[in-house]
Symmetry: C2
Subunit: 634 residues, 2 copies
């Protein structure tokens, strides 16, 4: 087992090896930047899709809207740079909001991000598989299985640790940047050379005739849609601790690189698309072709380079899920440290990553994928909202941060601009997509806030209940416990339990239940010879035998009844039930054995009796040819 | 909970109430006879389907083949009458083979029946739902859910006990017999009045032209197919104990009634079908109409009576699964008594039926239904084989029974005739259906035999390992156990466990594991004041504190390692690990808690260490507003 785990996940890393797992900006981009970079593939397309009713007019306006988005992106970048410097220990929206705005805003930020991260995984995985399936239609029936396989791959790579993840995704990340840059530069040069009207190698589909006039609302909706190009930008500020020391420098450089590449791609795409008359084709209809595919075809043609470009775009789309895998477990860890989530989210697993968060993220997004059968288009409108709500909380927190410190007016202004910009965008997104699905995001985020707060409340209650302050152990003489041994018959398993029970106390009751269904010897006749006589001979008090007959053939009910009576009659004593347990290690034993011991333990514990302790005394028997335990020591 | 169970399943019955649960022949027919009677609905159809290639000639031969089948049926009836008399305690094939032929033949009989019973449930349920769905096509997408719902209904009714089951199915059973009898008598009278050529009310589809000539092989295959009409006949001999005293009389009358009705229906159907020129239509093709539907239409027309008749036929088809529910659990009980199956199959549940067998039968056939998506036509060829193999084993056993007793030559001859008849039929079925699927039945039956024998072998080994004969308890002075208490911090849960541990022995080691992931106080500094001083003051040996630091952030590994070392160093002492367990009864607690105590227990027990006992000491905290246990007693 351990050999197999080593093979798949790598050898366990000691806590001191943490420094060695840290990365620089080169890997940082592929770990934290995939979500942001992939935005270049769908942001311009989302924007153009809204403008389809304008026909060829769309291309006149796309650059303008795109410039507004890029402006906002730059503001967000500058604000997050400041956040990284101010919170070098990891300044995700949750931390910033918690430090500056208080509990509830921080939970809102955490909930918004959680929903965003889970949706991002489902949408990215299904987008990647969707592209693969439309390239190889024979795979269509296996869509869901492919999605789940990709999810499993993401889990396994991320469980191998931060460095391994960075290495794994480096090739697709930089292939994406390189191929797309070549297309855009080449297209730009050709367009300039042709005086703005280049001849396409493969002409894109003609733009449809205009069906609507230009309205402000249309431009606003195009902006809201295009803002999906900004999702994923917050990832770096949350993941600062993965960088080599000083981490804030690595994080700053990584964020700068991501934003620079993203801005270049977004501006490049909108300009080259305009030059080549490339618009969006209506999605989910015959003749659909993505904007980047049209663009590559028009600039370069349909040769091998086209294939490489499209393959790298599809890989990055699918792998943009990785940003969630890097950040969600960290967010959960912070929440668990503040006891808004259970403790296991805090533990670093074998490769120093937060295993529990990774697995929970995969399960939640896996459920979404299964429910939507691997086609999650319906989820896309849900999803920019969470990111922008988190932006807004983070930027507002930073404004408060500078306000408290006084004096740094420029920084305050920058974060204020960011807060206003992202806040307004968030409202625009809600207004323009409320019916389409933004309301579901709002509902889910609300539920997440309630869940986090509820867990903390419950944990506080538990903490109070078990708190022992600094009081020393009280050794005041409690009375010896009263011991009950349920026995089915006279065999080694029961004998072992009886001997253990007699260690515990002098006051032992043996209870035998006869149901009448299986023939079991009533022990009454043999008790004196088997037990009472030898024990008396050793000058001890012999255990009492009680035979219970179960009218309704229940094995447990008479026992539980008897124990309850004993508890009632002995309020000052602890009652210990010693259950004989046969441990059979054959692989099929779970099918064969009635699990009496385990069920009995549950029966006693679940009902919550005070002063009751249940002990199973195991007796091991041979499994296959290997004998372990007592049986072998005879 | 108990109120709900009472409502659904009825109040628990005491073991003495068993007599009141027994039934007479009237209910007996509906409990044990549905499988046999439903055969009238598909046996003639199965026979006619094989003869379709003969065209109108088919009707000339159907009566002949049917008479052979009825002859065999009468022989089987007479043989089983003798079996019932000879084994009034229940003489299923398994018992008869075991008593007379030995272990392996009896396991073959049991395996054949088990396979037959499971297949019967799946096929009957899907046949019933199939008929319903073809009447109301809107239900087609819910086929599987309807199948599972019907299965659940069968489980619930059977869990209510034998009497309740008999009462529930009485109406459909006798409606089936009554409506079909009316159709046949009416048809027969009209045919006689018309001199053998009655005018059909709704003419049946014309018989297709002959495409093949008559061959012996065709007749043999028709016979093999028609023999499905005999499945279910063995049920009564297996279910004798459900009848009122003297049970053999009730069983004999029930079997007689079932056979008489079945023979009348089979002969009637073949004669009236011939008179009205009703043949089989090719199944699973457009224009398919069942033989009984054609017959009812031809004799009575398509009015309300047609509806009632078809509805009763469909109900009986679906409910013929009930025979399996009556017999399979009894067979399992017999196997469990001989330790070929685990013990729980022996226990009678709240209503004195063998709950475990009922549930296992439902699960197995439920799996078949899910795998085949509720359409189990493919399973039909698998299924007469098991019944006839069981017949043969039972009849051969009876031959041996009489041979040993000597003298009763007539009875021996009768059972001998039965054995030869059913044995030859079994071979015919295998030969004619081997490729279609009989090989799967043979394989499954073989696996079942291997499983039964394997369970017995395993159980024998366990029995030997735990056998204690009559040796009295040895009270020789074993040394006091060594106790280990894993503690996370100083709280009430841990304190409770420590106090219990100090009861167990003077030699207590407290182990604290620090993983570095969650901040937990190292207890070293406070140990003297909190524990050592007060314990010394009470003139006892204070527990030792061991702090373990886990380099790989594992909570359990260092503990297990330490305990293993203790075991090795103290081969003559028992080591007891006392695990503090927080019992939180909030409904969501299973999501919130790390289950450390349970996992720790498993970690210790699964590895099978000798001389190790694991104890959890529970500490109860409030759930919602109700506080139970220690927390409330403060």
């Amino acid at each position: 087992m351990s050999g197999l785990a080593d093979l798949i996940l790598g050898r366990p890393l000691a806590t001191e090896e943490e420094q060695g797992e840290r990365v620089g900006p080169l890997r940082g981009v592929s770990i934290l930047g995939l979500d942001a970079l992939a935005s270049a593939a769908y942001g311009p397309e989302a924007l153009l899709t809204i403008l389809v009713p304008l026909g060829a007019q769309a291309l006149v306006h796309v650059t303008g809207v795109m410039l507004v988005i890029v402006g906002l992106l730059v503001v967000v970048y500058l604000s997050y740079r400041q956040t990284i410097d101010a919170y070098p220990g990891g300044g995700g929206s949750y931390t910033v909001a918690k430090e500056n705005l208080g509990k509830w805003p921080s939970l809102v930020a955490a909930a918004a991000l959680s929903v965003d991260y889970v949706l991002n995984v489902a949408v990215a995985v299904s987008a990647g598989v969707g592209a693969l399936v439309s390239a190889i239609p024979g795979l269509l029936p296996y869509t869901l299985w492919l999605c789940l396989a990709l999810l499993l791959l993401l889990v396994l790579v991320n469980l191998r640790g931060v460095r391994a993840t960075g290495a794994a995704w480096m090739v697709p990340t930089y292939a994406f940047v390189a191929t797309l840059s070549i297309v855009l530069v080449f297209g730009g040069v050709k367009a300039l050379a042709a005086g703005g009207h280049p001849e396409p190698v493969v002409p894109p589909p003609a733009l449809p005739p205009a069906t609507e006039g230009l309205t402000l609302w249309l431009l606003v909706r195009a902006f809201a849609n295009g803002c999906t190009a900004m999702t994923g930008v917050e990832a770096v500020s949350n993941g600062v601790p993965i960088f080599r020391k000083p981490p804030e420098r690595g994080a700053r450089r990584t964020l700068g690189a991501i934003i620079a590449i993203l801005v270049a791609l977004l501006v490049g795409i909108s300009l080259v698309a305009r030059a080549y008359h490339v618009g969006a084709t209506p999605p989910a209809q015959a003749g659909y072709e993505s904007v980047l595919s049209q663009l590559t075809g028009a600039v370069i043609g349909r040769g091998w380079f086209y294939g490489v470009t499209i393959a790298s775009i599809v890989s990055v789309l699918a792998l943009s899920a990785n940003t969630s895998f890097a950040d969600f477990p960290r967010l959960c860890r912070l929440l668990a440290q503040d006891r808004y989530l259970p403790e296991p989210f805090e533990h670093r697993g074998r490769r120093l990553v937060f295993t529990h968060g990774i697995v929970v993220l995969a399960l939640l997004s896996g459920v979404l994928l299964v429910v939507f059968q691997g086609v999650t288009d319906a989820l896309i409108p849900l999803f920019a909202f969470g990111a922008f709500l988190a932006f807004t909380m983070s930027q507002s927190g930073m404004v408060e941060h500078w306000r408290r410190r006084r004096g740094n007016r420029l920084k305050l202004a920058m974060n204020g601009l960011g807060a206003v910009g992202t806040g307004v965008t968030c409202l625009v997104i809600v207004a323009s997509k409320f019916v389409e699905g933004a309301w579901i995001s709002i509902l889910l985020a609300g539920l997440a806030v309630a869940m986090y707060a509820g867990m903390r409340r419950h944990d506080d209650r538990l903490k109070r209940a078990i708190h022992a302050a600094d009081e020393p152990l009280s050794v005041a003489g409690t009375r010896e416990p009263l011991v009950v041994v349920p026995m089915r018959g006279w065999d080694r398993v029961s004998i072992e339990a009886l001997r253990f029970a007699m260690h515990l106390a002098d006051d032992v009751v043996v209870a035998q239940v006869l149901t009448g269904d299986r023939e079991v010897d009533d022990l009454t006749g043999r008790w004196k010879r088997l037990v009472a006589a030898p024990v008396r001979h050793a000058k001890k008090e012999p255990p009492r035998l009680v035979v219970l007959r179960s009218e309704y053939r229940r094995l447990f009910a008479p026992l539980v009844e008897m124990v309850d009576k004993l508890i009632e009659e002995n309020p000052d004593r602890q009652v210990v039930v010693v259950v004989p347990e046969l441990v059979d290690r054959a692989w099929f034993s779970f099918l064969v054995h009635p699990h009496t011991a385990a069920l009995l333990r549950e029966a006693f514990l679940l009902e919550g009796r005070p002063h009751l302790v249940v002990v199973s005394v195991p007796y091991y028997v041979c499994a296959g040819r290997v004998c372990i335990g007592r049986a072998s020591s005879k």
